[in-house]
Amino acid sequence: MRRFAKFWWDFIVGDDWRVAVGIVIAFGLTALLATTSIPAWWVLPLAVAAVLWLSLYRVAR
C-alpha cells in the first residue's frame, strides 16, 4: 500500500512537491477571487511562472 501511494505521488507530483503545493494555493486564491468582482484570470499564469522559476532555480543555484 505504501509503495502504491509512493508510486502515484512520484508519478503525479514528481521531484519537487513545492510545485504542487504552489499550484494548490494558486487554485485556492483563484477560486476565492472568482467570487468577488476582482478579475481572477491572471492568478494561475503568474503562479505557474513563479513556482516553475523557483523550482528551476533550486536546481540551478
Binding site: 481572477a40 513556482v51 516553475l52
Partner: protein
Amino acid sequence: MQGALRGRDRGALLLTDVFLVLSAFLASAVETVEALTIVLAMGLTRGWRSTLVGAGAATLALAAIVAALGPALTVIPIGTLRLVVGGLLLVFGLQWLRKAILRASGWRAVRDEDAVFARERAEAANAPHVERAGLDWYAFTVSFKGVLLEGLEVAFIVLTFGSTQGSIPLAALGAGAAIVLVVLAGILVREPLGRVPENTLAFAVGVMLTTFGIFWGAEGAGVEWPGGDAALLGVLAFVSLISLGFVTTLRRRKLAFA
C-alpha cells in the same frame, strides 16, 4: 459532457481538438520511443516471444485502464472535472516542462537511448534464465514493466486531457497513431530511435499540458477568461515565452558556472 461544450465557439473547439491530438501524439511518441528501447533490448538479447507477450500484455492493461476510467470520468460534472483534472494536468505538465527546461539548458543530462539500450542488453545477457508459464520470465517482466510504466503517462494524458475537452477517443487516436508510427520505425531500423529529438517533443508536451491545465483549471475554479476561448492562445504564448526565457537564462547561468 459534449452538451457542456456545445455552447463553445466552433473555431475554438477545432483549435483545442488539434492541440488535444497533437499533445497526445507527441507525449505518446516520446514514451513509445523509450519503451521501444527496452523491448528491442529484451527481444534482441533474450528472444522475441516472451518479450512480445510482455509488451502485448502491458498494452492490453493500458487499454483496459483507459476503457474503464474514461466512461467513469464523463459522469463527473464538467466544472468539478475541469477544476480537479485541470489541476492534475497542470501539476503533471509542469513536471514535463521542468525536466525539459533543465535538459535543454544543460542542468540535467539528456536521455541517451543508445546508452539505455546498451545497459539493458548487458543486464539482460547476465540475468539467469527462469521459465514460468512457458515464458522467459525476465524478458516478460522487464518488457511488461517497461511498456506499462512508460504507457501510464500516456494513459494519464489521454484521460485527463481528453476528459476535460470531452473527447477521450480523439486523445486516444492521437496516442495510438504515435505508437503505430514509432513501432513501425522500430521494426524497420531494429535499433533504438536515438535520433528522435525526445527533449524537444517533451518540451512541446509540457507547454501544452501546462497551458491547458491553466485554462481548464481556472475555468473550473470559476474564472471567466477575457476574450473567451481565444484566451487559450494567449496562455499558450505566455507559457511558451516564459519557458523559452527560462531555458535561455539557465543556459547562460550554466555557462557562467563552467
